[in-house]
Amino acid sequence: MSGGRAAPGWWVVLGQELRDVWVGGRGPALMFAFSLILSAVAYLVATNTALNFLEQREAVGLIVQVSVAMGGVLVVIAAADAISGERDRGTLESLLLAPVPRRQIAAGKLAAALSLWPAAFLVALPYVWFLGHDVGVVGDAVVVGLVVGTLLALELGALGLVLSLFSGSNRVSLALSLFVLLALFAPTQLSAGAQQGWAGDLMLRANPLTAGVHYVGRVLVDGHSLGRDADLLVAPAVAAVALAAVALLAAGRMSLRPGGAR
């Protein structure tokens, strides 16, 4: 093998996975579905804003929260398919036969799944601008959305990858990932009373999803500065780093059988 420079394995895997996601049609289809949901939400919040049921800042906050949450869902769907999907389709063995370390294969696949997040955020930007340019929160919304969304996408992508490594089938992997995602989102639906007090506050801050979503609300709805509630980003940041590390460590044992049994 000569002529030109060889790319590292993870880069080659990433390139192929990006083609599969974006040229293969799955990415554009997910983006289309995402834009439909966002359009529906934007229409509803814009209507409520016009009727004075919702402040403009709240509308922007809601759009960013929905974008961040939906971006996470898209990433987890892609990541949950990464290994178990290859197993189901019978294509994992030929990939494992390549002289590329398992962790590099996983890194390439995780990065490809993460590509859905910036694409989703790009789709969300016109909605943010439309709802927020009158009240001057577009800049903050972009920064907050990017930071929180990136952290959540990384942790959810890593979570999906871990579940994909250990699941016996793609259906199990996807179902488990969405179940965990719903479980993490559940506290946001608790009544305001249940979210008060030290226990409620601890639950809010310890759960990376609720912490991230609340940070968005504090900055965009309550008008706090970016740094004032930065402690709410501790859980999302720790979860992102920890889960990414766990995913890459577990990927070292990637094998034809779920759970790394070789």
Binding site: S2, G4, A6, V12, D20, T91, E93, S94, L97, P101
Partner: protein, 315 residues
């Protein structure tokens, strides 16, 4: 010349289940070795162990001179067509080969050049841009072998490459297998349960049974080792058939004698001879001594299938 593959008492257990218990053999460069065995004999597990997809539970092996303790290095020097194939339906043939060549360390231009050459070699150049989901089974198998060659491997493992192919497809694919060994000097291990494939293109054979190597060597050696029965068909005049059968039955080293019910005077003689090579001479001499003139004698040598069935207890 150093062996391309050396396996010494390799074993693989899945929990309490022993999939491969004692795999020992050597393969030289340029050899085409047929790995034979009934379903569940351990063929696929053996290949997965040797290709480093699963770790051995015991024993040791080396592929292309690289010990099994360096799996990444082994994977650089082997090409594999796994049992499942592994063809992503959306990729085109060209994309698929370029991708795998790049995974093996080729630069993009080198990978494209290798892919183009292999697609042409395997008769797929005109379908290079066709998605794999539109490929026929035979085309996919040829592409699979092409994929196994993207890194110019020293050893090629093919797991059931002809399964499900029509006769013409099988013959064409086996021609490619022979060419891989002859043209590239690579050792080829071809796992199959189709004995005709082995007889058609392998110079050596390895028979597995219940995860053990029960025979290894050239096809002739394995047949001899199995002491497979040979048969002779003797033709005498119809009126002498019964007497000839009685004479032959009394000859040492001759087994059961059966007269054909449809063809009077045609006797099927079992020349099973244990450790000794089969010899029709004494039977022929006994007929002549009894005054019976043989009208014809046809010897049927033992085939690989006889040896295989005997060794795997499936007769």
């Amino acid at each position: 010349m150093a062996a391309a593959v050396v396996a010494e008492r390799v074993g693989k257990d899945y929990g309490a289940v022993c999939a491969v218990s004692d795999l020992s053999f050597e393969v030289m460069p340029g050899d085409v070795v047929g790995v034979l065995g009934r379903n569940g004999a351990g063929k696929t597990t053996s290949i997965r162990v040797l290709t480093t997809i699963v770790a051995p539970t015991r024993g040791r092996f080396a592929v292309a001179g690289v010990p099994h303790t360096r799996p990444d290095e082994i994977r650089r020097r082997i090409g594999v067509l796994p049992e499942g194939g592994g063809y992503p339906g959306r990729q085109t043939g060209e994309e698929h080969l370029v991708y795998h060549a790049r995974l093996h360390g080729a630069s993009r231009p080198a990978a494209r050049a290798a892919a183009a050459a292999l697609l042409a070699e395997f008769g797929l150049a005109d379908r290079a841009r066709t998605p794999l989901q539109a490929y026929s089974l035979g085309m996919r198998r040829r592409l699979g072998i092409a994929r196994a060659l993207v890194n110019e491997p020293a050893v090629v493992f093919l797991d059931e490459p002809t399964l499900g192919l029509d006769p013409a497809g099988r013959r064409g694919l086996l021609d490619h297998v022979r060419a891989v060994a002859a043209g590239r000097g690579a050792a080829v291990l071809l796992s199959t349960h189709l004995l005709d494939d082995v007889e058609a293109c392998c110079n050596r054979v390895l028979i597995l049974h219940h995860g053990r190597t029960v025979a290894a060597g050239t096809v002739a050696e394995v047949v001899r080792l199995a002491a497979a029965p040979r048969t002779a068909v003797v033709r005498v005049t119809p009126d002498a058939g019964a007497r000839a059968a009685a004479v032959l039955a009394g000859v040492a080293g001759v087994g059961p004698v059966l007269e054909s019910p449809d063809r009077p005077g045609e006797l099927r003689v079992d020349l099973a001879s244990g450790e000794r090579p089969a010899d029709a001479g004494p039977a022929l001499q006994a007929l002549l001594d009894a005054g019976i003139a043989p009208l014809g004698l046809t010897l049927e040598g033992a085939r690989l299938s006889d040896a295989f069935l005997e060794m795997t207890g499936a007769a």
